[in-house]
Amino acid sequence: MYTLGIDIGSTTSKCVILKDGAKEVAKSLIVAGTGTDGPNRALNEVLKKANLKLEDVSYIVSTGYGRKGYRLANTEISELSCHAKGVMHLFPKVRTIIDIGGQDAKVLSINERGRLAEFVMNDKCAAGTGRFLDVMANVLKLDISDLEKEARKATNPVQISSTCTVFAESEVISQLSNGSSRENVVAGICKSVANRVATLAKRLDIKDEVFMSGGVAKNEGVRNAMEEVLNTKIVYSKDSQLMGALGAALFAYEKSIKEE
């Protein structure tokens, strides 16, 4: 039996197909989120990679910001539960998940039974999310994926004190015009994101292991800054961005079995 999870985020669309709720058959990631052709492209790509047709898939669960109204889905489940499910499938020792997506940040606490016990999410502001990094990369004329390389070169990270994306943008420009190096500014930006999200994480009882998921987890600069601020080791996977889609595919399998 094939089941599919689709995570429609604000900036990316991700799909995972599982066979019998265990074996990963294919995955896809398209940098285009809800309200675009991203979900369809991600779906077509994952089906092509799996060499399957849509009718071969028994059950689809959608998750993420654009989960509602995705007409191909049998049901939708929030990204909170799907991220928890996906991470626990691959990393069962994890007890805290920090997920930073395109426009929100969340921290999940997992209980001893491996279930979602508590969560906290960012407020209405986009600071501390992927959007914040997008804006800053744009100001610095860098590709988002280059931020971590720049951060690695930093010798003396600058202080980005503002918690507002708009004001922080002005602050970055001021730092550059005052002679701060680009790499030190980038490291300061990564630290700013980590500080912001760490205040959320500290509202929960942070238990090891701590896993980072979502697009921002790809950024080593933020991961390192987070480890420093939280004084703990961060577990990470190159597929961190796909945890929501994986969780959705696992739920799809369980629901399919239950309904049968």
């Binding site: 279930r115 979602l116 016990a117 906290v120 999410m121 209405k124």
Partner: protein, 412 residues
């Protein structure tokens, strides 16, 4: 034929229902104030936690800017009026009720909810500190008297004799001022009678809210948010007492007949913390109902049910309204409500308008959730400024709360 079918489907309110009666009381409240103004009587703008009993005894018509701002926001004009106040220089960080009210005082017309312009202002700071400057500014702009009652924040659990004496002195002085302004005389016997009626109303109101404790609840908790305007503006009237008694009867019958105004299966029972998001009432309500999540606990509704025996008791009540008490008292009240109603989760409205209420909410909600062993989540919103709310964020948090409750039950 099709027209006939359509006509049959049109909603006809039952004139004997509590909902109809309560709606009529609010309608009458505004109508009488408008008529009194037209007849040359002095009209006051009054804080929701100023003793309604005093005005009722003197036969003075007052209207409530907070009720009006909520109605304007619920009917879609919150942003328009907020913009008017902001264009006059008021920061969008201050309370949206205040901004709407200041704008209304300037433009003097809002089809969403009109009310007469004031001849005096009655302020009581037990609910809010922004209100002091809000009312002062209107009094200054319109060159009318402001009667200000200072009810100090209470760091202790009990209300002291000294505090009662301090507030009583101000109330007695306020009565004198109101006599001078209105030309009407205070009647002690009438005051006793009004206090009796007010207690009857409060008793019925609190009984109505207490039906939420039944499993399943015979009412949709959001009903209370619509009905509570009467508890604010007409507590001292027999009509209000009777309408709430009818409401209790309806809920009692619902329990007996296993019916509810919550029209779907009650899968989850939650406590909702904070003032309603009036500009997005439908979205916030259906966001819960669509998941079978019923709001069975809120201190916001109960706050307007005040029970007392005499003037000292009345003052004690007004010294103990939610925003004037310390974290420990506020927390214990919530724990009691959450336990009594078997709430399984806590949904906190971080109200951008109300720093006083939302300021200590992260710590208080943490303590309440811990004491009741229930999960909690919060969302950003506003009691009257629609711009401070995101539907998608609300949906995810509510869904997450439901999933955590399921997870704890072991269903997931």
């Amino acid at each position: 034929m099709s027209e006939e079918v359509k006509k049959k489907k049109k909603y006809v309110p039952n004139p004997n229902s509590a909902k109809y009666k309560l709606g009529k009381i609010v309608e009458k409240h505004y109508k009488e104030a408008i008529e009194a103004k037209a007849n040359g009587e002095k009209i006051g703008w009054c804080a929701s936690n100023f003793p309604e009993e005093i005005c009722q005894t003197l036969g003075i018509k007052v209207v409530y800017p907070e009720n009006q701002a909520a109605a304007i926001a619920a009917r879609g004009a919150g942003e328009k009026l907020c913009n008017i106040a902001e264009a006059d220089g008021y920061s969008n960080d201050i309370c949206a009720y205040a901004r709407i009210s200041l704008a209304y005082a300037k433009i003097e017309s809002a089809p969403e909810q009109d009310m007469p312009q004031p001849d005096f202002m009655l302020c009581c700071n037990n609910i809010c500190n922004v209100m002091i400057k809000w009312y002062e500014n209107i009094a200054k702009e319109k060159n009318i008297p402001l009667i200000m009652i200072d009810i100090p924040f209470n760091p202790d659990k009990e209300v002291s004799k000294e505090q009662i004496a301090y507030v009583k002195g101000q109330f007695l002085e306020a009565i004198k001022q109101l006599e001078e302004i209105s030309g009407k005389k205070w009647n002690e016997n009438k005051f006793k009678e009004i206090m009796k009626i007010s207690n009857r109303t409060s008793k019925a109101w609190l009984e109505a809210t207490s039906y939420c404790a039944y499993k399943p609840s015979p009412l949709n908790g959001f009903d209370l948010l619509n009905h509570m305007a009467v508890a604010v503006c007409a507590r001292g009237t027999v009509e209000a007492a009777e309408a709430f008694e009818v409401l209790c009867k309806e809920y009692k019958e619902n329990v007996k007949e296993h019916k509810s105004t919550f029209r779907v299966e009650e899968k989850y029972r939650i406590m909702f913390e904070g003032i309603a998001v009036w500009p997005h009432l439908r979205v916030t309500s259906s966001g819960l109902k669509d998941r079978g999540m019923n709001m069975v606990a809120t201190v916001y509704a109960d706050a307007f049910g005040l029970l007392y025996d005499d003037l000292d008791g009345l003052i004690r009540c007004y010294c103990g309204v939610p925003n004037s008490v310390c974290l420990e008292s506020a927390r214990d009240t919530r724990i009691d409500v959450a336990k009594r109603t078997h709430a399984e989760g806590l949904l906190v409205h971080t109200n951008r308008s109300c720093k006083l209420w939302s300021g200590f909410m992260p710590e208080m909600s943490r303590q309440v959730a811990k004491a009741c062993d229930i999960p909690l989540t919060s969302f950003d919103g506003d009691q009257a400024d629609p711009r401070n709310f995101s539907e998608a964020q609300y949906e995810t948090r509510v869904e997450g709360l439901a999933e955590v409750i399921d997870s704890r039950k072991g269903d997931c």
